[in-house]
Symmetry: C2
Subunit: 194 residues, 2 copies
DNA sequence: CGGCTGATGTCAGTTGATGACATCATGGTA
DNA sequence: TACCATGATGTCATCAACTGACATCAGCCG
């Protein structure tokens, strides 16, 4: 009932199927022991098609990055004028933290896959760097100085990294947004004059 | 006179020749348009030999990293007990800055090659991350707390990045160690409570 | 009907990377 | 002296990541 009998030429959402297939295979057999051909096969597609959607074998794990970037940028932009750059970044990080606190299991599974492979860690660094750049741009949009923007953004990403690691390691206890607040406080302590 | 007439079977320092050849070719024709076979040929060696010295095509540009790491770690270790973690990191960064202030042209040439290619930027991020980890370890050796060590180290690397960019962009003016001091001061301003 | 478009497939080729095995000056040792 | 171990290199074969050129064909639109 309600079934659309027109034969679609292909199954829908090839891209999404590739993401799922890759995540599963990387988790089961490891990144190195998985070929692109196998991913494509599991998704009912071809190797060539995989490379149409993703620039390379790693990129398939990072399809969520643009959404994170948007959330960061929007949150910084919405911060009140009275907020310092670091305040605005803190709010943005907490927003991302809240988003990940849902998706909890998915985020951890993905983190485990990445932690198991150097090449994937490389790509993760690249993505983090791109988020830092986006944050810095957003701060410049708030009239922060060039160096201030870069430093605040990179320090913020470091804060996120620390909090995220704690979150992943620390079993069920601990909510990511809270861990982010704590880490940010520690950063403030670290840089305070004696 | 003093000429050693024993025919060495191979030219000396194959590794060094590969580094020079790669730097030259990457600079002339770009990283992508250079094959490993070409690098090896210019060095009078074989593709297979290249991969005995370097894990991959990029790694050849980062042979200096261990020296930097050692300098950072040693400087942190030598910092007086009275120094805060951030003070110690600042001293270490300045030491590296002084080292690069020599080698000036070499450092810039290398930076230009890396700036021209995404894959190389990736690897640079990896190296920076490894330096951050080394710094954090050194701080833990000074009894800094876990999070404090990580945050200080990563913030320090961010400071270095900002200073280095300014140094590279800013023509002849500006000494790297001085730029590092300035950037560190800006970090302190950024994180100061209002 | 007929042509255009977009998602996919097919095929061939380049290159980065790795394993297995060969070569042979050097340097020590029987 | 003769011999053998070693280490740096070479040769060959192979895999898998990626890329370019071209083919297919359902659905849509005029």
């Amino acid at each position: 009932m309600g079934y659309d009998r027109r034969m679609a030429r292909w199954q829908p959402d090839g891209r999404g199927r590739l993401v799922q297939a890759a995540l599963a295979l990387y988790g089961e057999r490891g990144f190195d022991n998985t070929t692109v051909a196998e991913i494509a096969a599991r998704a009912g597609l071809t190797e060539r098609t995989f490379f149409r959607y993703f620039a390379d074998k790693r990129e398939v794990l990072f399809s969520g990055t643009p959404a994170l970037r948007d959330l960061l940028v929007d949150t910084v932009a919405r911060a009140p004028d009275s907020a310092t750059p670091l305040d605005a970044v803190g709010a943005a990080l907490e927003a991302v933290g809240a988003m990940l606190q849902e998706r909890r299991e998915g985020a951890r599974q993905r983190a485990a896959v990445i932690a198991a492979n150097t090449e994937l860690q490389e790509r993760e660094l690249v993505k983090m760097a791109s988020l830092a750049r986006a944050l810095a741009d957003a701060l410049r949009g708030r009239r922060a100085g060039e160096a201030t923007a870069t430093l605040t953004a990179e320090a913020g990403i470091a804060v996120f990294r620390v909090a995220f690691d704690r979150w992943v390691e620390g079993g069920t206890q601990g909510e990511l947004p809270q861990l982010i607040r704590e880490s940010l406080a520690e950063l403030r302590g670290v840089t305070a004059a004696r």
